[in-house]
Amino acid sequence: MRRVVSVSLGSSKRDHKVYAEFLGEEFEISRMGTDGNFDRALELLQNLDGKVDAIGLGGIDVYLFVKQKRYAVKDGLKLMEAVKVTPVVDGSGLKNTLEREVVRVLADETGHLKKGTKVLMVSSVDRFGMAEALSEMGCDVTFGDLIFTAGVPYPIKTMEELEEIAGRILPEISQMPFHMIYPTGKKQETQDEDKVKKFARYYHDAEVIGGDFHLIRRFMPAEMNRQIILTNTTTPDDIEFLRKKGVALLVTTTPEYDGRSFGTNVMEAVLVSIIGKPWEDITSDDYLNLLEKLKFRPRILDLKT
């Protein structure tokens, strides 16, 4: 049996272990949250190195992408470099392939996305594949990076402006302590009430809200009017949270195992262990071919019932 472990800076309340079969092979997939404790995450990674088949890094990004530019997140890189033997991934490779594909499926096969659909991406630089695919298919996309990361009520409306602003900000912001720009640990269990009130209009005005679930959750107001949420890494409690808020449909980009969808880092770690090549040699086509073989489909969950 292959073992894949996700070490996350997120809450340990979301820890989980499942057994699954991929292409005839048994996998034990588990998640270990460190409640935002960076040193604990480093220690866990060092302990797991060489003892498991692949490691995913959760609750943190190692790389942020905008078009062809890649920005390394200092804290993420530090965690990644702590692992010397076992393949270690942050999900960015899969986000750039699977999440583009999910946008295509939602447009071509379900009709949930079409030209002009109003989409709020709570953050796009951590899910650039999804953001670009939505933009390319003609959705009316609001990139909420400045709103939800910096508290600046400035919706970015074009890919060009996103690229320009990201070019100014990301080289430096990626060097800051990660907890300053993303909710880690206990912050993942609470909402930022001031910003929920202040930025509610961006949620209410959208038909589809996409991006990282912890960000979506942290700022989601009450009285949502039947929006679609496009994300991943949801637990049964998260689904109940969305239902109570008035969300109509949940689409997770990764499949469901035992009642929850794992993060892209976990699924990428599974794929990397199957492909068997060094991470840096794996191409988008490698992922796409394997996703095809595995028949990965987005999970679409009706929350109205």
Partner: protein
């Protein structure tokens, strides 16, 4: 070591560049804040006031600022002239900012939108 006058000049450059940037003024219309800039090695205090998206500068400290930016004179002048970004001095402890983390991040973003690559 920079002088008080050099810090004043750097802050003037910063505020001028900010106020010339219409996008920044739109971004910060909701963010009324008082920011005190304090040098540790020379007698130098300034107050930047953001109101309705516009920044004004005066010499001397204000009571009850929302943010207080503290560093040595050279680092302050370098930051506000745009020669260095605040990230490295903040990460290595040369630059201290007293105030809420949300305000600190926002100030960092403003500085990067003025001086970023």
């Amino acid at each position: 070591m920079a002088t008080h006058e050099e810090i004043t000049d750097s802050l003037k450059v910063f505020t001028d560049n900010y106020n010339k940037n219409e996008r920044l003024k739109i971004m910060n219309r909701d963010w009324d804040r008082v920011v005190v800039v304090k040098a540790t090695d020379v007698e130098s205090r300034h107050t930047m006031t953001l109101k309705d998206g516009v920044v004004s500068l005066k010499e001397g400290a204000s009571d009850n600022p929302d943010l207080t930016v503290i560093s040595d004179s050279e680092t302050l002048a370098d930051i506000f002239y745009g020669d260095i970004t605040p990230t490295e001095p903040y990460n290595n402890g040369t630059l201290r900012v007293m105030g809420s983390e949300d305000d600190l991040i926002r100030l960092d973003f403003i500085s990067l939108l003025i001086w970023g690559e």
